[in-house]
């Protein structure tokens, strides 16, 4: 059963009088439990696609359904609540809050839930345990290596047990070793914890870790590489 359905999604931006097309009638479906890699050159629209899936941007035309929710129909407030419940987002530059410890960074999305302090603590320690950083819970981002920061960011993304994990170039700012660790972790989350993951990457080695790869070129899906099941253009 498809967890994500994009139907004829088009995204354009307006710069002064000029209309710039970013995505052009993209249709994708992603199965639950899939690990999908989106590849493509800069400006191909892959990050825009990820933002649309996260509900932090709206398509100009077309519909996006995640689970049973067509997210384009949600109000701003409802969309924020939906993100809190269903989306775990991993950024290229980690984007941890510098004044918060690793523990507090991971706890951040849980502040939006009704969990008690003890329950929040248990969830945070579990998430940090998954990424292997329980002993770094009290460290601030500046006291962590890039790889560790990204693992904390992954813990923050999974701590609410979201429906969907979205990763935007998660290894783009890491050295090869740290990048490999992060990719192994994402693979583990997909295989052991059955997380559905959509990852944007430039790196073919990173994309190989995914169960399916899609290529975007100039806003449309391309057939340069064998496309997986359930993908139509």
């Amino acid at each position: 059963m498809a967890l994500i359905e994009l139907r004829d999604v088009t995204k354009t931006y307006r710069r002064d009088a000029e209309e710039i097309g970013v995505l052009d009638r993209v249709t994708i479906s992603v199965e639950e439990g899939e690990f999908l890699a989106l590849m493509g050159p800069s400006g191909s629209g892959k990050s825009t696609l990820l933002n649309l899936l996260a509900g932090i941007d709206q398509p100009t035309r077309g519909a996006i359904t995640v689970g049973s929710t067509e997210i384009g129909r949600l109000s701003e407030g409802a969309l924020a609540s939906w993100r809190a419940r269903h989306i775990g987002f991993i950024f290229q530059l980690y984007n941890l809050i510098p004044v918060l410890t690793a523990f507090e960074n991971v706890e951040l999305p849980l502040l939006l839930t009704n969990l008690s302090k003890k329950q929040r603590r248990d969830h945070v320690m579990t998430a940090l345990g998954i990424v292997g950083l329980t002993e770094r819970a009290s460290h601030y981002p500046r006291q962590l290596s890039g790889g560790q920061e990204q693992r904390v960011a992954i813990a923050r993304a999974v701590v609410t047990d979201p429906t969907l994990l979205l990763a935007d170039e998660p290894t783009g700012d890491l050295d090869a070793k740290a990048g490999a660790e992060v990719l192994t972790l994402l693979q583990r989350l997909n295989r052991e914890y059955k997380k559905t993951i959509v990852m944007v990457t430039h790196d073919p080695h990173a994309a190989e870790r995914a169960s399916r790869i899609l290529y975007l070129e100039k806003g449309t899906l391309s057939q340069h590489q064998p496309v997986g099941v359930g993908v139509t253009t």
């Binding site: 924020a80 530059l93 809050i97 507090e104 502040l111 302090k117």
Partner: protein, 384 residues
């Protein structure tokens, strides 16, 4: 409550900037509380003034004196029960900086007229019996370490009292029994000062007690009429009106001090607002990340306003505590005896704290709106 930690962490993000903002709010609240203390002091004096006492001064100005013969005329005015009189001495105690009120009084009638001057019977007796004796307020005694039996030497500050030093013996230490009597003054026998005065027999002001407060205005007019067209015309008012007039001589205090306070508050508002806006601009990406995690715009708005409130109220607490410590410090004698009940009271502290909260909210409204309306994608793109 679960967001409190987040707010406090954000406040501590840039300690120097936060400290400076706290200090700017503290200065505003300190000035506000101190200026309110001045106004409240005058109001308290007016409120505590007796309705049965009327004060007579020269119609031209209070600085001109009247002859002692006025006493009998005032005393004989229908409705007047008792009369006393006093002079401003204006002497120098060791150094001109040691300013405090010194009054040459007719002791028996003055203490009768002002039961608010609380003096033990023994001290009162000793004072009345000693021509060079004086009584000092307990605040003044604490400030200069005066004890009963001590000698106080004053150098005359007004030429009319001659050039020779006056030596007094402390015979009593009084307490204030009302807001219209300060505890920072010194009183001594009018006769002692008069002996060396040139010309002699001069009075600064008379105070008369009237039998019926409803008749005070009529009696005041009657007193003044008796001196009309004389060389020493008078102006008589109720004690309350006299006090209010005294304050008004300093100008429209309410408006003056109010304007100063308002200017300080508005300036602080701009400073704090600019600081908050700067702080929010620096955190554009963080705010976008929080929005991505699911924080609603309203929650972001509340967090920014919360930060503004914490910083401003911290400043308010510092300012209010400083005002209490400095303005209320008797040893500093900031009011110099002009305002008997001078101090920052609890109400002023509360109003000061409310003012700081107002500054906090107002200064953070625009930055909070900016933060809550942030377009997530644009904000993330700015850094990525």
């Amino acid at each position: 409550m679960k967001f409190t930690g987040l707010v406090l962490k954000s406040v501590r993000r840039n300690k120097r900037r936060t400290t400076l903002t706290i200090l700017s709010v503290a200065v505003a609240v300190f000035l506000f509380a101190a200026l309110r203390a001045v106004l409240d002091g005058f109001s308290a004096v007016a409120a505590a003034s007796s309705a049965t006492r009327v004060v007579t001064v020269r119609s031209t100005s209070m600085i001109f004196s009247m002859p002692t013969s006025h006493e009998q005329t005032i005393r004989s005015t229908p409705g007047v029960e008792d009369v006393t009189y006093a002079n401003w001495f204006g002497g120098i105690y060791k150094d001109p900086k040691n300013f405090f009120g010194q009054f040459a009084i007719e002791p028996e009638s003055y203490l009768r007229m002002y039961p608010e001057v609380l003096l033990s019977e023994d001290d009162k007796r000793a004072f009345l019996q000693d021509r060079t004796g004086c009584i000092v307020g307990d605040g003044l005694a604490r400030k200069y370490g005066f004890n009963i039996g001590d000698k106080i030497v004053l150098q005359p500050g007004i030429p009319v009292y001659g050039s020779q030093d006056y030596e007094f013996t402390v015979r009593g230490i009084y307490r204030s029994g009302g807001s219209n009597v300060d505890n920072q003054s010194m009183m001594f026998h009018w006769k002692y000062a008069d002996e060396r005065s040139t010309p002699k027999g001069q009075i600064g002001w008379f105070v008369a007690r009237v039998s019926n407060p409803d008749q005070a205005a009529r009696i005041s007019v009657a007193i003044d009429q008796q001196f009309a067209n004389s060389a020493y015309e008078t102006k008589t008012d109720t004690e309350q009106a006299f006090t209010a007039q005294f304050a008004s001589w300093l100008g429209n205090l309410n408006m003056l001090l109010g304007s100063v306070a308002l200017a300080v508050v508005i300036t602080t508002l701009f400073v704090a607002g600019n600081t908050m806006a700067m702080s929010v601009r620096e955190r554009t990406t963080e705010i976008a990340v929080m929005r991505t995690l699911g924080f609603r715009a309203a929650t972001i708005f509340s967090l920014v306003v919360g930060e503004g409130l914490v910083v401003a109220i911290a400043g308010g607490v510092v300012g209010a505590l400083l005002a209490r410590a400095i303005v209320n410090a008797e040893s500093l004698g900031l009011a110099g005896g002009f305002i008997p009940m001078f101090g920052v009271n609890n109400l002023n502290v509360l109003v000061g704290l409310a003012l700081s909260a107002f500054i906090g909210v107002m200064a953070s409204i625009i930055p909070a709106t900016m933060a809550s309306r942030l377009k997530i994608v644009d904000a993330l793109r700015r850094v990525a």
